[in-house]
């Protein structure tokens, strides 16, 4: 035990002194996470606002056939109606971005309207990466016009428009806001934890295994009185610590991010804040501990197996997908927390967290999650011990 402590302390100092560790561990979670959490929604709303306020140019052909409709277009904010543009040049003008859309009206417009026959109009636009905002803005004027015609027709025919809505549903959702947000967004919380935990553990694992082989310092420690198991456990302890610290830093980063989100309605803001309370975080962290142990053991195993740092890195890359993918599965709506899914490592963390946040966790299933994670972590440690005691692996070259 004394040797494990000595090795742990030394490896910890060694890792802390490495700038790359600090970047992965502190800079990334504390700087990038708040930026992503707070910045991304701002960026998205910023783009949407810009799209709404952008002045659009709509070329209209056959304006005289529907003067009322075109008047509505003219009265629409940030929209310019252009005349005298030939119908056959509309597409090319939209392509070269001299106009944003085109509307072609035909000479039977008024006749068909008066006879209550559907009128055809052609709307030209270019669907692009602006969430079809332009199309929606052009369409909105047409729909409003169409609705006004409908009201007129109901009046002409002396009809109550309610007769076209035979069933009126009163929605009574008994789920609390906490439950709704918990189940829909709660899965992402452990996903982020798992991601940080893996990333935080990855670098020290690569460095303390394959890195040491490459730098030829592994043999230095192997000839010390410390046993292989003690050396392994010392290294393993540091990797686990870094994994957990990284997850914790990610959490702090997320707190900073959420606190700087001023665009959320205050009630949702308070629900999110209440959701991430001390008890919830404490339970999630207890789930993360066995995962951190598992990551540390599996990453160290791969790292020990690698001849060089580079080789170990390339071996870890597919592992990344294998581990992160189940975490994503847990965030998909419709994947439920059942005795079967509770036994699937990583997936079960995402699912359990959703339930914990929503306040609907089943205690027997939570224990099943712990059991599954502890078994997995145990197996991973056994693998690491086996590999570290294997001469062919240690001196693989």
């Amino acid at each position: 035990m004394k040797n494990i402590k000595i090795i742990y302390k030394k490896e910890l100092i060694d890792m802390i002194r490495d700038r790359r560790t600090l970047i992965f561990m502190i800079l990334f979670p504390l700087l990038f996470v708040p930026l992503i959490v707070a910045g991304l929604p701002k960026l998205i709303t910023g783009i949407a606002d810009k799209n709404k306020k952008e002045t659009l140019k709509l070329a209209v052909v056959g304006e005289s056939y529907a003067p009322d409709l075109i008047e509505n277009y003219r009265n629409t904010e940030n929209l310019i109606v252009l005349r005298d543009i030939p119908a056959d040049s509309i597409s090319s003008r939209i392509s070269d971005k001299t106009i944003d859309g085109g509307l072609i009206l035909y000479n039977d417009f008024q006749y068909l309207l008066e006879h209550m026959i559907p009128v055809n109009v052609d709307l030209y636009y270019r669907s692009s990466d602006d969430m079809d905002m332009k199309k929606r803005r052009f369409e909105m004027v047409l729909n409003q016009y169409s609705d006004s015609i409908k009201v007129t027709r109901y009046n002409i025919l002396n009809l109550d428009q309610n007769i076209f809505n035979p069933i009126k549903i009163q929605y009574n959702n008994i789920a609390t806001q906490k439950e709704i947000i918990g189940k829909s967004a709660g899965g992402w919380l452990p996903y982020l934890f798992i991601l940080y935990c893996f990333m935080g553990a990855m670098y020290p694992a690569l460095d303390l295994g394959a890195g040491e082989k490459e730098r030829k310092t592994l043999e230095t420690i192997l000839v010390s009185p410390a046993s292989r198991l003690e050396i392994l456990l010392g290294k393993f302890g540091v990797i686990t610590t870094f994994g957990l610290l990284s997850a914790f830093m990610g959490l702090i980063g997320m707190f900073i991010g959420i606190n700087s989100l001023d665009m959320l309605p205050p009630e949702i803001h308070s629900v999110i804040k209440n959701m991430i309370d001390f008890k919830t975080i404490a339970i999630i962290l207890t789930l993360i501990i066995p995962v951190a142990i598992f990551f540390a053991a599996i990453l160290l195993s791969v790292s020990i197996y690698g001849r060089t740092y580079k080789e170990a890195q390339s071996l870890v890359a597919p592992l990344n997908i294998i581990i992160i993918f189940p975490a994503i599965i847990g965030t998909i709506p419709g994947v439920n927390f059942t005795p079967t899914t509770a036994a699937i490592p990583i997936v079960n963390i995402s699912l359990a967290t959703k339930e914990i946040i929503a306040g609907t966790i089943s205690i027997p299933l939570l224990f099943e999650v712990y059991l599954s994670l502890v078994i997995l972590a145990g197996l991973a440690i056994l693998l690491a011990v086996k590999l570290f005691n294997n001469e062919q692996v240690i001196f693989r070259g």
Partner: protein, 256 residues
């Protein structure tokens, strides 16, 4: 005292080995050491001579417990290297080109780390540390990180790391390999000092010159096999050629 009895070390063949044709390889096995027996006495320097791939490193790694022999036994100061590996490592100092320093630790921290692992108490550590740092002229760079040291300084730190627990048995695997003349001399001096203190010293080399300079006893290895084991003086007396190099070729039937 180090005693090897009929030591064999088999390795599983790798892809690279399969492409090579060698009498060291039979079937799926490569013989790293093939029935090796010799004794290293206290107060004597034992030289293990052989070209690259002779099995020197394998033999020394087995003595220092990093590798386990496939058959045969090795005892170090009476401790079996397999059954009492921890005891062996606690009385042994091992230095090779593969036992490098941690770049992010200082020279002082490096030596202290190993002193802690060897279980040295504070006063013993202080005494040993001061003696070694003075002997090796290390005080000046004691607080500098190993990564920032010159090769010569690094070698000194490695020596201090190897010697901090005052080991009774010292294993040097090609200790002068890749070093400049000055640094090589510091190693040679250290080996002599260890001998004078009555320690058991074994070192491997492929440099014939070092053998004459240092060895009391000698073993010649080639392709995992032992071709000679005895005193250096007896070897010189029994030589049928003019130089050590020629004698090596005569014994092994191959050029170095």
């Amino acid at each position: 005292m180090i005693e090897l009895r009929n030591v064999v070390k088999n390795y599983k063949k790798t892809k690279q080995h399969k492409q090579e044709k060698s009498d060291q390889i039979s079937g799926k096995i490569l013989k790293g050491a093939d029935d090796v027996s010799f004794v290293c006495r206290p107060g004597k320097v034992f030289g293990l001579l052989g070209p690259n791939g002779a099995g020197k490193t394998t033999t020394l790694r087995m003595i220092s417990t990093i590798l386990k022999p496939s058959s045969g036994t090795i005892s170090v100061q009476g401790y079996d290297t397999v059954k009492e590996a921890a005891n062996v490592r606690s009385i042994l100092g091992f230095l090779s080109g593969n036992t490098k320093l941690y770049d992010r630790l200082t020279a002082e921290e490096m030596v202290k780390y190993y002193a802690d692992l060897y279980g040295l108490d504070k006063s013993t550590y202080r005494h040993r540390r001061d003696k070694l740092f003075h002997l090796l002229d290390m005080e000046e760079f004691a607080d500098r990180r190993n990564g920032k040291l010159s090769d010569g300084m690094k070698q000194k730190v490695s020596i201090a790391r190897t010697m901090i627990h005052n080991p009774q048995v010292i294993v040097f695997d090609e200790p002068t390999e890749g070093l400049d003349v000055m640094t090589s001399q510091s190693i040679i001096k250290l080996i002599r000092l260890c001998r004078d203190e009555g320690k058991t010293v074994i070192f491997s080399t492929h440099r014939m010159g070092e053998v004459g300079q240092l060895c009391d006893d000698l073993a010649i290895m080639h392709k995992g096999k032992l071709f000679y084991s005895g005193t250096y003086s007896a070897f010189i007396e029994g030589m049928k050629t003019d130089t050590l190099e020629d004698e090596f070729i005569r014994l092994t039937g191959e050029d170095i």
